[in-house]
Amino acid sequence: MSNPEEPRVEDGVVKTNDPVSLTVARPDAGARRHEPHQPERQRLPTKLFEKRKTVHNKRIDGPFRRFKWLVMFVTLAIYYGTPWIRWDRGPYAPDQAVLVDLANRRFYMFNIEIWPHEFYFVAGLLIMAAIGLFLVTSAVGRAWCGYACPQTVWTDLFQHIDRFVDGDRNARMRLDAAPWTAGKIARRGFKWTIYLVIAFWTGGAWIMYFADAPTLVRDFWSGQAAPAAYIAVAILTFTTFTLGGFMREQVCIYMCPWPRIQAAMMDEKSLTVTYKDWRGEPRGSVKKAQKDPEHFGDCIDCMQCVAVCPTGIDIREGPQIGCITCALCIDACDRVMAEVGRPRGLIDYVTLDDAKREAAGEAPKPLRRVLLRPRTIVYFLAWGGIGLGLLFALGTRTQTEISVAPDRNPPFMLMSDGSVRNAYTVKLRNMQSRPREMRMALEGLPGAVMWTDAMPREDAARELVETVAADSTGSFRIYVVAPPGTQEQAFSFVVAGLDAQAEGDSSEARFTAPEE
């Protein structure tokens, strides 16, 4: 740390390596300066292990809480509901809107069907998801953590269950401290049963994405489903029950790498939940502040921000890894400020840059400037570019493909009449969900004819018509025989669907012949 005696001052802002809370609290840093806030630290003896302190977060209402409700409702509805959406694809394809058909290697998403060789679409979506997270993080900080992360959503859900069964913060704290009476056991049993039901439902919803949902439900309860289905449900029930019901904020603080990565992706221009200690400190109750209004800041030390926090932290200690920026403390503090007649926003979404500005008595940058800056614009362009590229690829892909693999051992075969035969494995891909007749023809290689191993040699011709089943790849072993004296040369297999669409493809191949 730099020498506290000699702080560097730039544009009226003190530059040090100290945490923001210390920087902005320096007496000479802003107009409303009071004593710098030094949280009282107990010098606890070193411990190897620390028991989890249960978080009993208090109920709160406010704009951010309502937004959280909305996100929770939408994300859970998507998760539980999506597999049940039906989507008619005709008689040869499943009618489930979103289906990851692992057994048949197909991924259905509404009117898009992805084959394994088109996995780059999925890769592209994953890259978009990653860049989307970069974009969101650089603009609005840990918004993913605060609102949309499954761990956050399910923890929130389970905390509402706690509140529903055991009452709000104080009642829960009392019950926690109470001895294990029959009543407490009954309450705990009831609560954990609800946990378990939700956890089971969560695990059950997961497997619905991998098979026809109504059939799978029937099979599941009649014991006919695949062992993998029961194992997946059991594992996800267990993880939801423990991670959502008991581990909660421990997952964010100890297990998840994402807070660490996000800390690296945020910069001084990213929005984060900030306690404006230059305005709040020194904290003191309303009564104390009335006696000595000049000394005290706006924080009345009511601890509501701590009480409502789902991870149990004190935001007034500054930015920290336990803060998922769910902004419930903003709701709580705004409410209290309104009650005591002080302006809202003592705790607010502020960038680190703006925190310095505000502390120095300057106006913060407009939100537009925070969101639209080169970094977010570059992220957005990369994100949008990949998205457009994927859409373009999706729009221009063909649903008929041919691929040819020549036999390499032996490369050619001399027949008794002196003609030369080559063998190829030709694959015709029909990506439409109906069976199609396709005409396969030789292009080049004069005098040559072909036949498949499933037809008599006598029927050999330059054109063959084959039927390829709906949504599948037909594999044909093709013999091509060329007249005696044919030299090694290139030629092509062409294929076209025998329908109005007549979609086609071609593949170059090499005809190998003995050297004379």
Binding site: Q42, L44, E50, Y254, M413, A454
Partner: protein, 311 residues
């Protein structure tokens, strides 16, 4: 709270945590306590380990590891999976055992199964001589082409595989022997050259000349009985077709001369005693499928095939 300062450790005011006591160029490490549930996961893994050691093979001893209570072994698992697989294939194998091989093409599903099984068996038993692509090599017949020494329909191929070629352990083996015209002094070196010249003309090579005319006469007297007047050979004796483009030992005049002087007789083992009849059927189906297979004609051209009455 009464606190005793741990020796050699610094207190970090910002986090309220003691450091571990080491320092690297001013950088210190916080001694943040681990969460207690972490400790429980450690105990859980220890319990898991103990249970595993009891249930599964674990401690390596001199000859083998301790046997777990469950009696599981990887070999046992393999045997179980192989048994399951052969149970799964049992209906196909039974059907293959039932069906006469010439009827196999009528059942395309069974035919496909036979070809797949034959491909696997070929890789184990046949590639040593016939090559991985069944293209053979000098002296070892190519199985992809349409030229067959002993017949190219399913039944003939099955017979050849079962009884072999010139395998004296099998009484019904395919057998023929071409006289060593040169070595045994049946023809002079000049005569052999003449015959070789004539043989070349059978497949459209070489000019007709006085030598080939002499060769034609010698051929009619010595060779036509097996190879036929037009040189198309005879499958009855495994006599090669001399009028086509395919030559087992080579197509050059010199090679042909050598083979007339001192013929070579390829040997193929009889697989009847080594492989079961279903595997042989599958092998025949595979070889037949390589592109030169011929249709089975009910009227037996080859008396040897008629002898074969096995199902």
């Amino acid at each position: 709270m009464a606190t005793e300062e741990p020796k050699g450790k610094n207190f970090d005011e910002a986090t309220g945590t003691w450091t571990v006591g080491h320092e690297w160029d001013g950088i210190e490490e916080l001694d943040t306590p681990m969460p207690r549930w972490w400790l429980w996961t450690l105990y859980l893994t220890i319990v898991w380990g103990i249970v595993y050691v009891i249930l599964y093979p674990a401690w390596p001893l001199v000859n083998q590891a301790t046997e777990g209570v469950l009696g599981w072994t990887s070999r046992g698992q393999l045997a179980e999976e192989m048994a399951q697989e052969s149970e799964r294939r049992a209906p196909v194998m039974a059907a293959l055992a039932q069906i006469p091989i010439e009827r196999l093409p009528d059942n395309s599903e069974l035919m496909r199964a036979a070809i797949t099984g034959g491909r696997a068996a070929f890789r184990v038993n046949c590639v040593q001589c016939h090559g991985a692509g069944a293209a053979g090599s000098e002296g070892y017949p190519n199985l992809n082409d349409d030229d067959w020494l002993w017949g190219g329909d399913l039944k003939a191929i099955e017979y050849t595989i079962t009884h072999g070629v010139r395998d004296r352990t099998s009484p019904e083996t395919r057998f023929s022997q071409m006289p060593a015209f040169g070595r045994d002094g049946l023809l002079t070196s000049e005569q052999i050259s003449d015959v070789a010249g004539y043989v070349l003309t059978l497949s459209g090579r070489g000019e007709a000349s006085a030598a080939t005319a002499r060769g034609a006469e010698l051929y009619a007297n010595n060779c036509a009985i097996c190879h036929g007047n037009d040189g198309t050979g005879s499958r009855e004796f495994g006599a090669p077709n001399l009028a086509d483009a395919i030559w087992l030992f080579g197509r050059d005049r010199e090679v042909i001369r050598q083979r007339i002087h001192d013929p070579m007789h390829g040997v193929m083992p009889a697989w009847g005693g080594r492989l079961d009849s279903v595997t042989i059927k599958m092998l025949a189906a595979y070889v037949h499928s390589l592109g030169g297979g011929e249709d089975f004609v009910e009227v037996a051209r080859d008396p040897a095939v008629e002898v074969d009455e096995q199902p």
